[in-house]
Each structure stands twice: as structure tokens, then as C-alpha cells.
Symmetry: D3
Subunit: 161 residues, 6 copies
């Protein structure tokens, strides 16, 4: 039966004690797809919004939020991350932006939440910048793609969504 | 042609000046669906994790993150919110938790980002607590459901996803 | 029966909706007594620690924490305070420092938590600075002394501790 | 004569340089007693407030505040804590809640302030949730119970309060 | 004799009570000059660093820091700013970047510190991005250019530096 | 050609991956000169403002801001600093205060930004406290004085300003 690190024997939440875990290189990659209206995506593509500038803001928002993941997510440990990378790219032939984030730290617990938080903040920043054109923008499928390091080793998302 | 509040005439991002906007009651409702494995949802349902306790943590995370939306989303204004409400419920016959958040403020700009941020933080908190059972948990369809108040008036999501 | 602003009809916590409350001047005063060993208090009195400097640090810590009360206390609303005042004074003939804090805001909810948070942060800052002399320092009787403004009007602590 | 880590030779406060201290496992336990009116404690006991829900909010507040201790207490170092645990329990035959917190980190300075900050935030969160019933709630005896690790070794509070 | 808002009659610092001040539109403009080596400025000009991208990061840093001015500057009040604008431009014929920031709020105290904080954070962000080329980069003359609103009215910097 | 740690091969900003860098003792010293009017400096000197108290506030602001440098400066890594020291002193025969800050950490990246951020926050805190006497106060020459540790070794500012 799987261990429930965040719950005690009575089923109440708790912060996991990571004192006994080994310090190793941990990595995680997460992603989400931001689907917007044709009008919104054309505004990004056509240059009325400088795409590079919009993506720069989203990427920076992701980096900054990820560094403070333990403030967003109450049971997360503060982790001195060594790298956060956020990438935004227009999807060909679809009114979508794909956001991917990588987090890395040499620490005694994983950085999955850091990668997911980076993607969430970047996606919501894009939403914020484009919402006057399309309030219906959808952040689809915020998800972990892979993680490595630590006792549970490497995990990769198997199924296509 | 729609106004692009967050971009100047050259297409560079900027913070919108909300000085000329009227102070009125602004509300927004957002939602997301957290889909997990049968095993994970059964753990929540069966009591190995106290569902109330897990949902309490997710709800509190949403409230706390929403109050600080302008720290996560770079072009958002600080807004002294008057209410943040986060609700989590198990979806019947599906391995899913539906998270809804409402934000309200009497202010000169809308609270869509506050509602969306509350949902994102609550969803990722659930992910964090259940990830030792299922790393593949998916945060599906983070989206605005409705907003009211301000010059653009009331907006409701029309189409089913 | 008294209203439980922070709990819904089922007894679950919630953030109170302060939208219907009137904006009036709210004030609150809180206090605590920091009791330390004779050795510790003599170090403060005798000048091996510059009392003014130690009290300046404690006062500033109280002011800064109080401005961010809604980050410490999850169900508190962000309140743009107009004044936080923190006072520290040596108690005559006792090895004690009395800390008092006043908070004020023209807002739709009270500032009791701001005053209490200021006192707590100032007291713990004193503890931190003196703990190498006395780890047994006690923060006694952190309490509200009075509050005014709002629907419930003026309240004063009646009984001596 | 005891070393005053937080003051220089002239008596001005300073941040201690922990560069020369050894990285070892540091633990600390702190506590406080929250005394409230009979009416308030009965509301918690009887279920008009869901005790588990109220305690969950207080516990989470303590965990979150402790992770950021160096933001509240100016001369504290940022410490990547490995564990924060907060416990709330009703005291038999007294209108009191006892709050205990444990902090742990493998670091070059102690975690006393983290444990004390967790207790303070949890106690004030309880105050906040119950203050509409009883504004006179008292946070009694916020104190360190024990600490271990580091050059000064193990310390335990000797005297009963 | 000028009033010293931040000091009491004994000369100790205090937070000013802004309760009696009128809510009016407050604006402030601040600036600094970032002087770097020829090599560093050429790297920005020539495109090895995408200038727009570097300036986007600096501008966003300024906006984000300014929203939280009261966290960095201890005696500042939290102010719900309505606008922060940061501009970076290469100075003709000099190895310099001129940074200007404007802050605006309808509030009962001025926004000078918000404008100055925005400039400081933007300038240090530029330093950070270019420091591997030139550690000697100088942030010259961080200063207020003008402020308007409030009892003291309009102020403009008179002398050329 | 010098490495541009904060930009990728296309010239877009990125966070540097410090995973491959060695953990060594890193130190940095930064400074700035705060020039104010004769009237302002005399107020500090004459005791109408308690100089020690004003400098205590500025020093504490610098320490607190430096601990959170990665929140100010978007591409900075969170660094668990071991020491931040801030010094303020009146300059003889000039209406100036010289602020110096030292930062130290045993970490895989340098602490230049921590030292610079400490100086910036301390200088702006002095500005804030004295601005009712002189809005024209100038923060001159915010600069790095030296740094040591890490692959690039020791650097000292060579030229007088």
C-alpha cells in the first residue's frame, strides 16, 4: 500500500518529515495548454501584442512563483531551487499556447510542485494579459510530464491526454 | 476592436492604469476539475485520508493565494478583497474533485485573477497531498465561469467544455 | 446567539464576506508581557545590549508583521492600515518588558488581529535577541486590550489578568 | 559570560554570522495555551464550529508562518526546514486549547524561532476564528519547551509555569 | 520647522498616522541611471542579449517590487496602487541606461517610495543580468523627479545633478 | 568572450542553472552614498531625529530585504544567507550618509545581489524617514565594492568613482 506522506495515521494532513531522505538531484517537468479564441491568438501572432514581450512576462511570472512554491502550497517544504526554466510556444494550427516548465534542485524532496506552480503562474499571466480580448481562455491539462531523483526514482507520464 | 489594457501602443506589456475606472462591486467565479486515479479518489472517499481535512487544506490554500494574487500575476493590481470562498466536492461516479472559487471586492478593477488563482492553488494543494498515490493527477479546465461589475458588465461562460 | 463570522451553517471555516459592513474608523490595542531571567533583564538595563536598539528592532518587527497580518492569519482580510504603533518598556521592579501595539484603519472590518500580530512579532523578536542568555523567556498573556469601531462598537478588557 | 550573538561589541543589534557553525540536526518544541470563555470552548466542543476544521486551519497557519519565520523575525536566518508539526488539543476540564509545535532542520542554526512562530500563528488563528464569541481570549505562556542540536546542545524547560 | 512624520517627539521612529489626511490622487516619478562598461552596453545594443527581453525583465521587476513597497521599506503604509509604469531606454552616446518609473494611487499618503522602489528593483535586475560581463556597473543617482497630490502639493526636482 | 549566464543562445533571459557550480563560501560587499540637504543632515546630527534609531531602522530594512533578494530580482536564486551586515555612518564634513552592506553564504552562486539589495533598501528607508525635510535626497553610486568565492574568484572595484 502506498505511503501517504502528507497524512498521519489518523488521516489528518501533516507536513512530511524529509529529514531521513537523501539529498540527490531532483528534476521535474510540467506543462499546460492555454486555449484561446482565434481572435486572441491572432492578436498574439500578428504583433498587436508583442509576442516576445507577452511570453517574457509569462515566463518571468512562472520563475518567480516557482521560487516561492512553499508559500502557495501549504505542505510544501521551502526548497532552494537551482534552476527554473519556463517555455511558451504557439502551437501550430491551433489557437493554443503550450507552456512547459522544468524545475531542478539538489535536495531531499522532489520539485514536482515547483514545476507545476511555474506553469500555473505563467498560464494565468497569459490569461491576465489576454483576458480583455477573450475571458473564456481555458487552461487545459495542467499536469506533470516527468520527474526524476529520490527514492521513487524516475516517473514519466505514459498516456496521451 | 477590443482594447488591450495590458499593452501599450507599441505592443509592449504595461500595467493598466485603473485610476479612471469606477469603484463598484466586482465578483468572479472560477473553477477547475481535478481528475485522479480510482485508487486516489477511493483513498479520499474511504477515509484513509480524512476528506474534510484534505479539503480544508486545499480551501485554505486557495484563500491565502488569492489574497496575494498581485504577487503571483505580475500585471495585477493589489486588490483588498472582501471575500474569497473556495469549495471542493467529489464528483458523483467520476474520479474527480470539482473546485470552485468566488472572489469579491468593491474596487476599480475586476477580480477574475483572484478567483482563478484561488482555484489553481487549491487544485495544486490537492495534487500535492495525493501525489504519492498518483503523480498523474490532471488539473483539467482551469477557467472563469462568470464575472460581474465594472464597465464590461456581466460575463458568463456560454459553452459547455 | 452570537454570529460566527468565520464558519458556515455546517460549521466549516470560511472567510467572512465584509462587503455589507460599513467603512468606519477601526482601532484596536493589544499587549503582551515578556518575562525573562534577572540576568537577561539586567543585560538590557545595563547597556551590554543597547536597549534602544533592541526595542527599535522589536518595534519595527511588529510594524512590519502587522502590515502583513493577512499572510499570517489565513482568514483575515488584507487591510490597508493607516497606523501601527508598537511600544516596549521595562516594567519597574520586575524582570519584564511590556509590549503594547495599536492598529488603526478606516475599513469595513476590525484591526484586532493586526494589533495582536504586531505584539506577537515584537515579543518573539525580543525573545530571539535575548535567547542566548535565557531560552526560558516567556511571552505571557498575549491579549486584546480594547477595540472600537464597527457594528459591535467599543470593547474593553474588563478583568485584570 | 554568555555570548550575545545578536549584538556587536558596542551593543548594537546585528545578524549573527552562522558561517562557522556546524550543520547538524536541530529540533525545537514550543507551546502556548489558548484560554477562552466557557461559551467559546463549548462552541468548539459541541460542533457548532467543526473542531477538526478549526484546528486544521490553525495547524496550517502555524506550518505556513513557520516556513517564513525569517520574514517575521528580522534577525532570523532563512532556514530550509525539513519538518513543522503543529498539534491542537482541547484540555480536559478547562476552557483551554493547548497548542504545541515542533520544528526540525539540518542546518547551522537552531529552529527555536520556527517552533515559536508556528505556535503564535496557530494561536492567533484560533483567536481570529473564535473572536466573535469571545474577544477576551488569552494566549497564555507562549514558550519554548525544548531544543536540541548545535553547540549549546539540548535544553529543556525545567520549571512548571 | 518642518514636520518629521516618521519620528515622535522624543526622536524615535514611528509609522505616521495617515488617518487625518485626505484621499486624493498622488503621483510620483523617480529615476536612476545605470552606467556600465562599453562592452556591456554593446552586448545590449548588438543583440547578443535581446534588449527588449532584458528591459522586459527589468520593467516587470520594478512593477512587482513597487506593489510591495511596504514590505521593503518598514515605515511605509500598504498602498493599493492604481498604476506603476517603468521605462528603460539606452542613452545616446553614453554607456548608460536611463530608468524612469511612475507610480499613482488615490490614497491618503504619497507614492514617492513606490516610484523609487520600482526604479531600484529595475536597476538591480539589469545589474544582475549584465554582471557576468561587468561587475562594476554603477546605479547612479537614484532620485525623485517629481511628486504631486496631498497637502504638500507638487514638488519638482530643480537642480540638474 | 564572456559567458552570459542569464541569457540563452537566442538572447532571451533565463535563470542560470547553478547545479554544476561548487558550494563554496561566497562574500560580497556593496555600498551607496545618501546625499541630503544640510538641513536634513543637521536634523540627524543634532538629535531631533535619534540617529541611532534612524540607522537601526535602515539597517534592519537592509537585512530583511536582502534575505528576500530573490523576490525583488526575478532571475536570482533563493540563497540561504549566513550573514547580512549593514552599516550606516555620517560622512565627515559632507551632508552624506555612507551605507555599506556585506552578504555571505556557503552556496553555489554569489551573493552580490544580496549585498546590493541590502544597501538599496537601507538607503530608501533613510530617504523615507527624511523625505519630509528633503525630497531631493539622492542615492548616489549604488555599487559593488568586492566579491569573493566561486569560479570567478575575487573581484575588487578598482577605480575611484
Amino acid at each position: 500500500m502506498k505511503r501517504l506522506a502528507h497524512f498521519d495515521s489518523r488521516g489528518s494532513f501533516r507536513m512530511a518529515d524529509i529529514g531521513g531522505k537523501r539529498i540527490t538531484l531532483r528534476k521535474a517537468v510540467a506543462a499546460a495548454t492555454v486555449r484561446m479564441s482565434r481572435e486572441a491568438i491572432e492578436t498574439l501572432r500578428s504583433g498587436r501584442i508583442i509576442k516576445g514581450d507577452a511570453f517574457a512576462a509569462a515566463r518571468l511570472a512562472g520563475i518567480q512563483a516557482a521560487k516561492r512554491t512553499s508559500e502557495w502550497i501549504p505542505l510544501c517544504h521551502p526548497i532552494p531551487v537551482q534552476w527554473i526554466d519556463v517555455d511558451c510556444r504557439l502551437v501550430a494550427r491551433k489557437p493554443e499556447v503550450e507552456i512547459t516548465a522544468t524545475a531542478a534542485a539538489r535536495w531531499s524532496t522532489g520539485v514536482e510542485m515547483e514545476a507545476l506552480t511555474a506553469v500555473a503562474a505563467a498560464a494565468l499571466t497569459l490569461y491576465d494579459m489576454c483576458k480583455s480580448i477573450d475571458r473564456g481562455i481555458l487552461v487545459k491539462d495542467l499536469r506533470l510530464l516527468s520527474k526524476s531523483g529520490g527514492r521513487s526514482g524516475t516517473w514519466k507520464r505514459e498516456t496521451k491526454l
